[in-house]
C-alpha cells in the first residue's frame, strides 16, 4: 500500500519575478515499510521535496497524498494535526527541546496527542531502550553526544507511531561511528516496527544502507533504484 503518493509535484519560487523551479514535476510513490533515500547534490531540491511530502511546504502544482489523504488542500490548522498523527520528523540539527530531559522530549509528542501518562512513559522508555540510551533518560540533550541526541530525535519521531518518518540529512552532523550506530538503529526500527523511513541525504553511508535510492537533479528524478 502506498503511504505517499506524489503526482506531478512542482515548486516554483519567485513566480512573479524571476521564477526558480526547485521541483519540476516529480511523480513518486513510497510504499509502507520502505527505507528510502532521496539523494542528489546540494540545491537539487531534496529538502524542498521532503518539506512538501511532510506538509511543511505547499507545492505550486501537483498533489501529495499521505495515507490516502490529499494534504495539499488541507488548511494549516488541520495540517498541523495531521503531521502530529501521521508524520515523524528527524532534523539535521536534532532540534530537541533543551530544557526537557531526553525522556520528556520523547513524551512531548505523545502529550500533544493527549496520550495518558502511563502510555507515554512506557513508550518513551521502550524507545530509549531500543536506541540503547535508556540510562540517559533523565539527562538533558546537552549532556549527550551528537549521535546520542540524534537517537533521541529518532525516538521522538517514532513515539507517535507515524505513517512514515522524514529525516532531513540526519547524519550530516555525525561522525562515522555515530552514523553507523544510528543507521543500524533506524534499519532495525524499519524491520521491527515496520517504520517507513524517507531520508534526504548526500551521505554515502546512508545511501549504502537504503533499500531504495531516488536521485534528484535540478528538481527532477533522474533515477529510482530499488535494491
Amino acid at each position: 500500500m502506498s503511504i505517499i503518493k506524489a503526482e506531478n509535484i512542482t515548486k516554483t519560487y519567485n513566480e512573479s519575478t524571476i521564477p526558480v523551479h526547485a521541483i519540476n514535476g516529480i511523480n513518486l510513490q513510497i510504499e509502507e515499510g520502505e527505507f528510502t533515500a532521496i539523494v542528489g547534490p546540494s540545491g537539487c531540491g531534496k529538502t524542498t521535496f521532503l518539506n512538501i511530502l511532510g506538509g511543511l511546504d505547499k507545492a505550486t502544482k501537483g498533489s501529495v497524498e499521505v495515507a490516502g489523504v490529499n494534504i495539499g488542500e488541507m488548511p494549516d490548522s488541520k495540517l498541523i494535526d495531521f503531521r502530529l498523527k501521521n508524520i515523524g520528523f528527524v532534523f539535521q540539527a536534532y532540534n530537541l527541546i533543551p530544557v526537557l530531559t531526553n525522556k520528556e522530549n520523547i513524551e512531548f509528542i505523545m502529550l500533544l496527542q493527549k496520550k495518558d501518562k502511563k502510555e507515554r512513559e512506557t513508550r518513551a522508555m521502550e524507545l530509549l531502550e531500543q536506541m540503547g540510551i535508556a540510562d540517559k533518560a533523565n539527562l538533558r540533550p546537552s549532556e549527550l553526544s551528537g549521535g546520542q541526541q540524534q537517537r533521541v530525535a529518532v525516538a521522538r519521531a517514532l513515539a507517535s507511531k507515524p505513517a512514515f518518518i522524514l529525516a532531513d540529512e540526519p547524519t550530516a552532523n555525525l561522525d562515522s561511528k555515530s552514523t553507523a550506530t544510528l543507521l543500524d538503529i533506524m534499519a532495525k526500527m524499519n524491520q521491527e516496527e515496520k517504520a517507513t523511513f524517507v531520508f534526504s541525504t548526500h551521505d554515502q553511508r546512508v545511501i549504502d544502507k537504503a533499500k531504495r535510492v531516488i536521485t534528484l537533479e535540478d528538481g527532477v528524478v533522474i533515477s529510482d533504484v530499488t535494491r
Binding site: L56, N95, L112
Partner: protein, 404 residues
C-alpha cells in the same frame, strides 16, 4: 507539560528573566510606595480634619449656616447630644455655641470663629487638649480662659496669659465684647484651628450672649471605619427638622481629596505598568527570536498554534507571578516600617503645614490595593506577551527550521 515546559523556558536565560522579574519587583514596590506615601498625606490630613475639627457628623439649625445668625439654635441640642451619645457606633458627641466675630490684642485684631465648647465632651470628640503646644486645657485660670491657634497667636503677638478681647454681635444685633485671657495655644495641621478658631468655655460665652443653654452645633464622632449613613438616617428619623451633614458635605474638599488619591493610584499604576509592558514585550520578543528554530520544530512536529501562543503567554505570566509577590512583599515591608516610625519631613514642615499637612508622614495603604496591584501585574504580563506570542505563531516552520 505545557505549564512545566513554560516554567523551564522561563529559566533558560536566568539573567534575562531576573532583569524582567527585577523590573516587576521594582515597579510594584515603587507603585506601592508612591501610593502609600500619597495616601499617607491624604489620610493623615483627612484624619486630622475629621478628628480635630469637623467630626463625622454635624447637626445645625437649617437656617444657621446661611448667615451664622446667633439666633438659629438646634432645639434641645444638649438633650439630643446626650441621647445620640448612647447610640451604637457613636463614640462621642459634643455641643457648641458658634459666633463669628473679632479677636483683638493690644497690638492687632483678626476675624475669628468663637466656639463656645463643652470642654469635657469636646475633649472626647476633637481631642483639643492633644493639640496643645503651650499652656493647659482650661486649667489655671478661673475667669474667661481662651485657647487659640499658634498662627493666630503669632498674628496677634500674644502669648500665654495675654489678654484678648472678643467682639461680636449678640442676639439683639448689638455689638458685645468680652475680655479673655489665653490659657493655651494649640497647633494642628488644620488651618482653621491654627488661624481661625477661638475656643472658650460654653458657659462663659452663654453668659455674655445671654443665650442660656442653647447651642448652634452638635458634633458627632463615630467609631473608626463606621459609615455615617446609618447614624444620619437614624438621627433624621428620630429628630426631624435639623440639618444633618456628614464630613463629606461639610468639607467637600476632603471627599474630593479622597477621590483624587484613589485616581492617583490608577494614574501611577498606568504609568508604571506601561513602562513594564515595554520591558516585557522586549524580553519576550528576544526569547521568541532566540528560540525561533525550536518554535519552528514544535510547529513542524504538530504543536498547534494555540499551544504555542499559550506557552509564550504562560511564560510571561510566570514572570509576573514570580515578580509581583516579591514586589508586594518588599512594598509591604517598607510601608509597614514607615507606617510605624513615620517619615520625618520636618525640613519641609513650613511648606507642608501651610497646606495643612503634618511634617511627619505615615504612609498608608488599604489592603485591596495589594490585590489591585497583583491583578494589574498579571494583566500587564498578558498584554506584554500578546505581541511576542503572535510573532511566534506567525512564523513559518520551514523558514524557522533553516534559520541559523
Amino acid at each position: 507539560m505545557l505549564l512545566k515546559l513554560s516554567w523551564k523556558n522561563v529559566w533558560r536565560s536566568k539573567a534575562r528573566s531576573f532583569v524582567v522579574i527585577g523590573s516587576i519587583i521594582l515597579g510594584v514596590w515603587a507603585l506601592l510606595i508612591g501610593t502609600g506615601f500619597m495616601n499617607g498625606f491624604g489620610v493623615s490630613y483627612m484624619a486630622d480634619v475629621i478628628n480635630h475639627d469637623v467630626s463625622n457628623i454635624q447637626v445645625h439649625n437649617k437656617e444657621f449656616k446661611k448667615d451664622f445668625d446667633i439666633n438659629y439654635f438646634v432645639s434641645n441640642g444638649t438633650e439630643k447630644a446626650a441621647k445620640v451619645r448612647t447610640w451604637p457606633h457613636v463614640k462621642a458627641t459634643t455641643t457648641r455655641i458658634i459666633i463669628n466675630g473679632m479677636i483683638s490684642s493690644p497690638k492687632k485684631g483678626a476675624a475669628v470663629q468663637i466656639r463656645g465648647i463643652d470642654i469635657a465632651n469636646e475633649q472626647k470628640v476633637t481631642q483639643l487638649d492633644s493639640l496643645l503646644i503651650e499652656g493647659s486645657y482650661f486649667k489655671g485660670l478661673k475667669r474667661h480662659p481662651i485657647i487659640i491657634g499658634s498662627k493666630l497667636a503669632k498674628t496677634l503677638h500674644v502669648k500665654l496669659r495675654s489678654k484678648v478681647v472678643l467682639t461680636f454681635t449678640n442676639d439683639e444685633g448689638l455689638i458685645t465684647a468680652g475680655a479673655f485671657r489665653i490659657v493655651g495655644i494649640v497647633k494642628s495641621s488644620s488651618v482653621k484651628i491654627n488661624e481661625l478658631y477661638a475656643f472658650v468655655k460654653q458657659k462663659d460665652l452663654a453668659k455674655i450672649t445671654s443665650i442660656g443653654h442653647q447651642v448652634h452645633e452638635l458634633a458627632i464622632l463615630l467609631e473608626p471605619h463606621v459609615n455615617e449613613a446609618a447614624t444620619v438616617a437614624k438621627y433624621n428619623q428620630t429628630y426631624k427638622g435639623d440639618m444633618v451633614e456628614t464630613w463629606k458635605e461639610i468639607a467637600p474638599e476632603l471627599a474630593l481629596m479622597q477621590q483624587m488619591y484613589n485616581q492617583m493610584l490608577y494614574i501611577l499604576m498606568l504609568i508604571i505598568m506601561t513602562a513594564l509592558v515595554f520591558g516585557i514585550v522586549n524580553t519576550m520578543l528576544m526569547a521568541v527570536l532566540e528560540r525561533y528554530r525550536e518554535l519552528g520544530m514544535l510547529m513542524a512536529v504538530g504543536m498547534g498554534k494555540a499551544n504555542v501562543y499559550a506557552m509564550i503567554l504562560i511564560e510571561t505570566i510566570y514572570l509576573g507571578l514570580v515578580g509581583a509577590p516579591l514586589g508586594l512583599l518588599a512594598g509591604w515591608l517598607t510601608l509597614s516600617y514607615y507606617s510605624k516610625v513615620g517619615v520625618d519631613l520636618t525640613e519641609y514642615s513650613e511648606g507642608l503645614e501651610s497646606f495643612g499637612y503634618s511634617s511627619i508622614l505615615y504612609p498608608y495603604l488599604e489592603n485591596n490595593v495589594y490585590l489591585i496591584v497583583t491583578f494589574s501585574v498579571v494583566v500587564t504580563a498578558i498584554i506584554g506577551a500578546l505581541y511576542p506570542a503572535w510573532k511566534a505563531v506567525k512564523l513559518n516552520p520551514v523558514e524557522a527550521l533553516h534559520k541559523i
